[in-house]
């Protein structure tokens, strides 16, 4: 633990097959002992955030390290390229099938080990069970898949909601009953309290899952309306010093498909990632515009936004690897986990230095993608160009201040 650390929030959001990139990052923060005060999530980022904060019967590190075991044997994935272990076909028997499958005899495998034979046998049994799960023609009405309690059972929601639990968690979902984005949290009361039904609501992406009913209202995932998780930050957590976002990796999605399955995923993800990239850019430019420059002591109006990049060696995802990021193979899970872990540790090293180099490399607004800059030009001249909204008078009032690490201390 390092004293004088800023109050840190992190936003977690991403594509489900790349979930271990997020878990790797959180494992990196755990390893370095960096406390995260606020975790705001969207879509599958909710699972990572929940396992980080409130895993059931395990330590956060153990819970996060187990995730590669949710992925499919590399060998089997060549013939069945989807995740039949996590995604259950739309059936009224899905939950029952899950419970029965939990009792299948399995060969213990270390999550990080390739163990090709053991994984092939284990996952082969899962595949057979999937094939034998009876579908319901009627239930094919409006989604391909059914949700089960598989993921939510890994989370201790009671611990998360305990009044003594000091850290804050947010998860978004879209309320189609009144066309509004809802943010479930562990601190807010009433209908907004996070629980298993909120988690399911947050995963209910059209086509994959039917809309989920929670607290008497009908929800779909919030990831198609705020795929960043940043909305909870600007609506509820403005007192943080910094918020960290993972690189949205637009180029990994904005590319030529390699097969029809890949093309289908790109169709669904293209606009979501676009919305994610542009929202991050808008937030980055806004916070840079309204906040005092680093090195001055004025109060922050929005937490500063930083990015964990995945394009710096050795923590790099090479472009040639991008198509594999959407595969549910165990090898992909382990690869992304190691990249995330490495990138987070590099980020922490910079954070502790708190120097100009850290600002240059990691401040989001300083390294906007070409697409973001292109989009922002629409608003730039009148909205962001008077960037010094932290007016000179305010600068004079607060003085030049100290280094960025000191000024944001707890």
């Amino acid at each position: 633990m390092t004293p004088n650390l800023p109050r840190i929030g992190i936003v977690l959001s991403g594509w489900a097959p790349a979930m271990t990139l997020m878990s790797g990052v959180m494992l990196g923060f755990l390893k370095e002992g960096i406390p995260i005060d606020v975790v705001s999530t969207s879509g599958i980022g909710g699972l990572i955030g929940l396992l980080y904060l409130a895993p059931k019967g395990k330590t956060p590190t153990e819970a996060l390290q187990e995730l590669p075991n949710l992925f499919v044997s590399d060998l089997l994935h060549r013939f069945v390229p989807f995740n039949f272990k996590v995604f259950y076909k739309n059936s009224p028997f899905a939950q029952l099938a899950y419970e029965l499958r939990e009792h299948l005899p399995k060969i213990p495998v270390d999550p990080g080990s390739s163990s090709p034979v053991a994984r092939f046998i284990n996952d082969g049994m899962e595949l057979a069970a999937t094939a034998l799960t009876p579908p319901s023609l009627e239930s094919y009405r409006n989604a391909l898949l059914s949700q089960t309690s598989m993921l939510e059972e890994r989370v201790d929601f009671d611990a998360l909601r305990d009044p003594n639990f000091s850290r804050r968690f947010y998860l978004n979902a879209f309320d189609i009953s009144d066309q509004a984005q809802r943010i479930f949290g562990n601190r807010s009361g009433g209908n907004q309290h996070v629980a298993a039904d909120a988690f399911r609501a947050a995963q209910a992406m059209f086509l994959l899952f039917p809309p989920e009913r929670a607290r008497g209202r009908l929800f779909t995932t919030g990831a198609t309306h705020d795929p960043t998780g940043l909305q909870a930050i600007w609506l509820k957590e403005r007192k943080l010093d910094m918020v960290i976002a993972l690189d949205p990796l637009g180029p990994a999605i904005w590319r030529h498909p390699v097969n029809i399955h890949d093309a289908f995923q790109l169709m669904l993800l293209n606009p979501i990632v676009s919305l994610q990239v542009l929202t991050l850019a808008l937030y980055a430019n806004t916070e840079q515009s309204v906040n005092p420059p680093v090195g001055t002591n004025g109060p922050l109006k929005l937490p500063r936004l930083y990015r964990i990049p995945f394009d710096f060696p050795p923590c790099q995802i090479p472009p040639a690897y991008y198509p594999q990021m959407l595969e549910w193979t165990h090898a992909n899970a382990v690869t992304l986990e190691s990249v995330g872990y490495c990138a987070a540790r590099q980020f922490v090293a910079g954070l502790l230095r708190a120097d100009a180099e850290f600002e240059r490399v990691y401040r989001y607004a300083g390294r906007l993608e070409d697409r973001s800059q292109q989009f922002l030009r629409v608003f730039h001249a009148h909205l962001f160009e008077p960037a010094s909204r932290f007016a000179s008078t305010e600068r004079e009032k607060y003085g030049p201040g100290r280094s960025s690490g000191e000024e944001t201390s707890r």
Partner: protein
């Protein structure tokens, strides 16, 4: 060029732009609206489009038959006879199977006997449409496909658009026309304009992944622009100002039917379309909402900027479920909704100009006044509160 006058600019001719956004459900709504604008004598100075919005906008601007109103009315024939659609809920007339023989079979189908339908036939052409669409179905069924797991799209292009659009006329047309596409090499949007827009670039701009392969134009590879800016605002942006002064006084944004689309899907096909449309509609809404707030802010500061207005498409609750259908009856319903909505917009605009009092028009149609108070948009815009401090 335009005949509509705007607020304080009423002493001189107002310059108007229109944004026709992406999304297949908007096709007939936009076609109806643009037809109403055309019949009302409105000629837009610039048109910004994204995705499927490009088709009605091209028909408004450079229809092959030289008659924009007739072309826009005939868009409903793109849809499928209800009886056939009730059995096969797919628009096989525009989504053509993937394969090397698709173009040949499509041309063969065009050569088969069929009824030529005019706009006047729209209400009473049931049997003839059934015949035409049955022939189309037969040809579609017989078209061989090479689709397999290694394919990178499910559909193949054919020259459908060439029958509808007079491409050569676009390059000399006085209306500035823009369509966006996403450049996979530069990872940025590219805007095709009057000089560069032709069939290949049109297809490139509508190359939605999975449906169509990325499309090469002049050695650059593109996919659908609407997945990145469905509003069309970015497409027109560089033409909106000249020497720091706005080139148009008002931008008219057609409804994105957003609130009607966010519903519990009725079947798997609807769920698929919602999965694609959901973030696209949201992106469009956020972009336009932020721009509308900015221009309202600038207006208060006395800085000239194009004002943005909104043409709502009031979809009744019982029709919302059918918005995504490709049935003929749905096409007619949507077309009429779009037509009436735009006509009312024109009537109110005229009344405002004649009375010299724009208050009612502003209250009904100014984007920031009618769209930005919804919870979804309010929460999004709250990020920028500090920037809009006077």
């Amino acid at each position: 060029m335009s005949t509509v006058q705007v607020g304080e600019q009423s002493a001189q001719r107002s310059r108007i732009g229109v944004l026709v956004s992406g999304g297949a459900p908007n096709l007939h709504l936009a076609a109806g609206a643009l037809c109403a604008f055309y019949e009302h004598g409105i000629r837009f100075d610039l048109i910004g489009t994204a995705g499927a919005g490009a088709l009605p906008a091209l028909l408004y601007t450079v229809p092959k038959n030289g008659d924009p109103a007739a072309s826009l009315k005939s868009t409903v024939y793109i849809n499928i006879h209800d009886l056939i659609y009730s059995v096969i809920s797919d628009n096989y007339k525009i989504f053509l199977k993937r394969g090397p023989w698709t173009e040949a079979f499509w041309r063969l189908g065009r050569g088969l006997p069929h009824f030529d339908l005019t706009p006047d036939d729209r209400p009473h052409s049931g049997l003839r449409r059934f015949f035409n669409d049955s022939i189309g179905l037969m040809v579609a069924a017989l078209t061989p496909t090479t689709l397999w797991y290694g394919s990178t799209s499910v559909c193949t292009r054919a020259g459908v658009i060439d029958d509808l659009v007079n491409w050569p006329a676009l390059s000399t047309h006085p209306t500035k026309f823009f369509l966006n596409a996403f450049d996979l090499g530069r990872l940025k949007l590219t805007t095709f304009d009057n000089a560069t827009l032709r069939p290949e670039s049109f297809y490139a701009a509508l190359a939605m992944p999975w449906l169509y392969e990325p499309t090469v134009v002049d050695d650059r590879m593109y996919t659908e622009g609407a997945a990145h800016d469905p509003s069309g605002l970015e497409a027109v942006w560089d033409a909106l100002y000249k020497n720091g002064q706005p080139e148009v006084d008002m931008l008219v944004a057609l409804d994105t039917v957003v609130t009607d689309l966010w519903l519990d899907p009725g079947n798997i096909q609807e769920a698929l379309e919602l999965a694609v449309m959901d973030p696209i509609v949201c992106l469009s809404e956020y972009t336009l909402a932020l721009y509308s707030r900015l221009e309202a802010f600038l207006e208060k500061k006395g800085v000239a900027a194009p004002k943005i207005y909104y043409v709502p498409f009031p979809i009744q609750a019982q029709d919302a479920r059918r918005i995504l259908d490709w049935s003929y009856s749905n096409a007619l319903s949507l077309w009429d909704i779009g037509y009436k909505a735009a006509k009312q917009f024109c009537v109110e605009r005229d009344a405002a100009n004649q009375s010299g009092n724009p208050d009612k028009f502003e209250r009904l149609y100014r984007y920031y006044r009618v769209r930005n108070d919804r919870p979804l948009i309010r929460d999004f815009l709250s990020l920028f509160d500090s920037l809009f401090m006077p």
